[in-house]
């Protein structure tokens, strides 16, 4: 069974077309959803939750049609919005228990699950204090906890790492990975950073201007970049020159170099060149393709 599938899904608003004939399916596991800002992503999420009727086409979530089975879908799906959505004057426990009951859990089960879930997302003693005093990272955890508390089959996470610093981001990504793998809950996660999604996703969908740009397993995604990033601290230019001399395609990428891989010997050439030049080889990684590259290709830049 598909976790979700859409067919020719279209949503037009008076001034914009948010979704334009989107056809896509995803299976279990962690799926990333990326796209330029605009109405597209949030509209898709609203349609998937059965809160917004599509203009044309259709969609199913966990095999349930979004137009007719909205309430059943919302019983089985958890949603973490992108925007702030927490009242400041209640505690995390109070809020999460309450929202668990809003998903139909009896009082006792709601309490137990709220306690469990808050522990899993890493909120300890803070959970009894009013949310108003929480840091961004803690708030994101509360938002995640409320999406998980009713043990959904699928959770929709909208920009879960937004506003987090690197440590917070790592922890959030690790949590998402655990939700997908250990908890056995399918995840649809949106992000602006493909590098981030690469770390947690099994599958990535890219939409742009309401249309499907690409949908493929993360393996294929990374395969499509036939280049490696190389970081050598000092002497980046010297290395670039040497590699160009040897006939390799090299492009600067910030502090690093992007080297086109034409075969196994390219990697050896990089190894040898750094060794010859006496450079530090800090990084040699398979093309960490960024979302912007996908958009660049699409725009033909």
């Amino acid at each position: 069974m598909h976790i979700l599938d859409t067919e020719g899904l279209t949503k037009r608003f008076p001034t914009v077309t948010a979704l334009d004939g989107l056809t896509v399916t995803t299976g279990p596991g962690v799926t990333g959803l990326v796209g330029a800002n605009g109405a597209g992503k949030s509209t898709l999420i609203k349609i998937l939750l059965g809160l917004l009727p599509p203009t044309a086409g259709g969609a199913r979530v966990l095999g349930l049609d979004v137009t007719t089975r909205g309430a059943d879908i919302r019983r089985l799906v958890g949603y973490m919005p992108e925007h702030e959505c927490l009242p400041p004057d209640v505690s995390a426990t109070e809020l999460v228990v309450h929202l668990a009951r809003m998903s139909g859990l009896p009082r006792t089960a709601a309490r137990e699950r709220a306690a469990d879930v808050l522990r899993h997302v890493g909120l300890a003693e803070e959970r009894y204090r009013p949310i108003g005093g929480y840091s961004t990272g803690m708030k994101q955890r509360v938002k995640l906890a409320q999406a998980l508390v009713h043990d959904p089959k699928l959770i929709l996470l909208d920009e879960p790492t937004n506003g987090l610093d690197p440590r917070g981001r790592d922890e959030m990504l690790a949590l998402i990975r655990r939700i997908g793998a250990e908890f056995g809950i399918s995840v649809l996660v949106t992000s602006h950073l493909l590098g981030e999604l690469e770390r947690v996703c099994d599958h990535v969908i890219v939409i742009d201007a309401g249309r499907l740009l690409r949908s493929s397993a993360i393996g294929e995604f990374t395969q499509t970049t036939r280049s490696v990033t190389v970081e050598v601290d000092e002497g980046t230019q010297a290395l670039a020159d040497r590699l160009v001399e040897l006939g390799h395609g090299v492009a600067p990428h910030g502090r690093m170099l992007l080297v086109e891989v034409s075969g196994p010997d390219t990697l050896d050439a990089i190894r040898d060149a750094t060794a010859d030049l006496g450079l530090c080889l800090i990084r040699l990684e398979r093309g960490r393709q960024r979302i912007e590259d996908v958009f660049r290709e699409a725009a033909g830049v």
Partner: protein, 304 residues
């Protein structure tokens, strides 16, 4: 123009948000880097004259910023909080900024500023209908409308999609190259390194580092460090690396090698040589991801 902070502290009751910071921000792009809650916003607010330093002084080319509204002739500010009237259209908002600055040709200035951030098309929609990225760009346009020599941006990339991010990064870089003094705060290392040559680092309110990005980065990486390596023969590579002192500990896992380097640069220089000597192909070398906070607290602890 130059912003100078001299022994600036700011506290709220017993909570010290900024602790004895002295720095000078000159022309070019400077990144203000630090984990969440490090005091970046507080510092920026003091530079923008929206908060009195509890101690020390903040000056712009020698004149005090606090309680001096004339400084806004030279400063463009992009605050982190929304700060945009939802009931105005993007055009009205930017035009009002131009008028508030008393520019001779406000219409032309507003048009230019909106063009700079590529917001001409939706300019007649009300701001409340904008996405976060669009609001962010309108804020940037309003800050640029009087062509200020100093630009302060608080988390400017927040909420922008990759295309918009790219565009704003280019914009900031080119303005920096044109000699404007630009300071932007961020907690994302990658973002900063792509735009700023110079960085100032705040950790827990303290000024943890300052200077050229590469040099700081080298300082930051110069500590016991974890590498993950995959190669054509991990076992043999492990054995070879263990012979050298710079590789402190080597362990072999299902995903390849993990090396705890005692001396970061020494090991990074050693690795390609050993691999070449042993005839082993390197498939992947990754330094374990830098965690800003731990890197910076290491910096602080080391310097105290």
């Amino acid at each position: 123009m130059k912003i100078e902070l001299a022994q600036v502290s700011r506290w709220y009751g017993n909570v010290v948000a900024v602790n004895d910071v002295t720095m000078t921000i000159g022309p070019g792009v400077t990144g203000l880097l630090g984990p969440n809650g490090a005091g970046k916003s507080t510092l920026l607010h003091m530079m923008a004259g929206f908060l009195a330093p509890s101690n020390g002084t903040v000056t712009l080319d020698g004149t005090r910023v606090w309680k001096n509204h004339q400084v806004y002739r030279h400063i463009g500010l992009v605050p982190e909080r929304e700060g945009v009237y939802g009931f105005l259209t993007g055009w009205q908002f930017v035009l009002s900024a131009a008028r508030l600055h008393g520019l001779p040709d406000p219409v032309e200035a507003a048009r230019k500023a909106l063009a700079t951030v590529e917001m001409e098309e939706p300019k007649d929609r009300r701001v409340e209908t904008y996405s976060k990225g669009m609001r962010q760009r309108v804020k940037v346009a309003a800050a640029l409308v009087h062509d200020p020599p100093v630009l302060l941006l608080d988390e400017p990339f927040n909420g922008m999609d990759p295309r918009q991010r790219l565009h704003l990064m280019d914009l900031i870089r080119s303005m920096g190259a044109a000699g404007k003094t630009i300071l932007f705060s961020s907690h994302i290392l990658e973002e900063v390194e792509r735009v700023a040559q110079h960085i100032e680092v705040l950790v827990a309110g303290r000024h943890a580092a300052s200077g050229d990005f590469r040099e700081i980065r080298r300082l930051m990486t110069d500590r016991p460090h974890l590498f993950r390596i995959r190669s054509s023969d991990d076992r043999r590579l492990a054995a070879a690396l263990m012979l050298d002192d710079s590789a402190g500990g080597v362990s072999l896992g299902p995903d390849g090698l993990e090396v705890r380097a005692v001396e970061f640069r020494g090991f990074a220089r050693l690795l390609p040589r050993v691999a070449r000597t042993e005839g082993i192909s390197l498939h992947e070398v990754s330094p374990a991801d830098e965690d800003l906070e731990s890197v910076f607290s290491y910096l602080i602890n080391r310097s105290s």
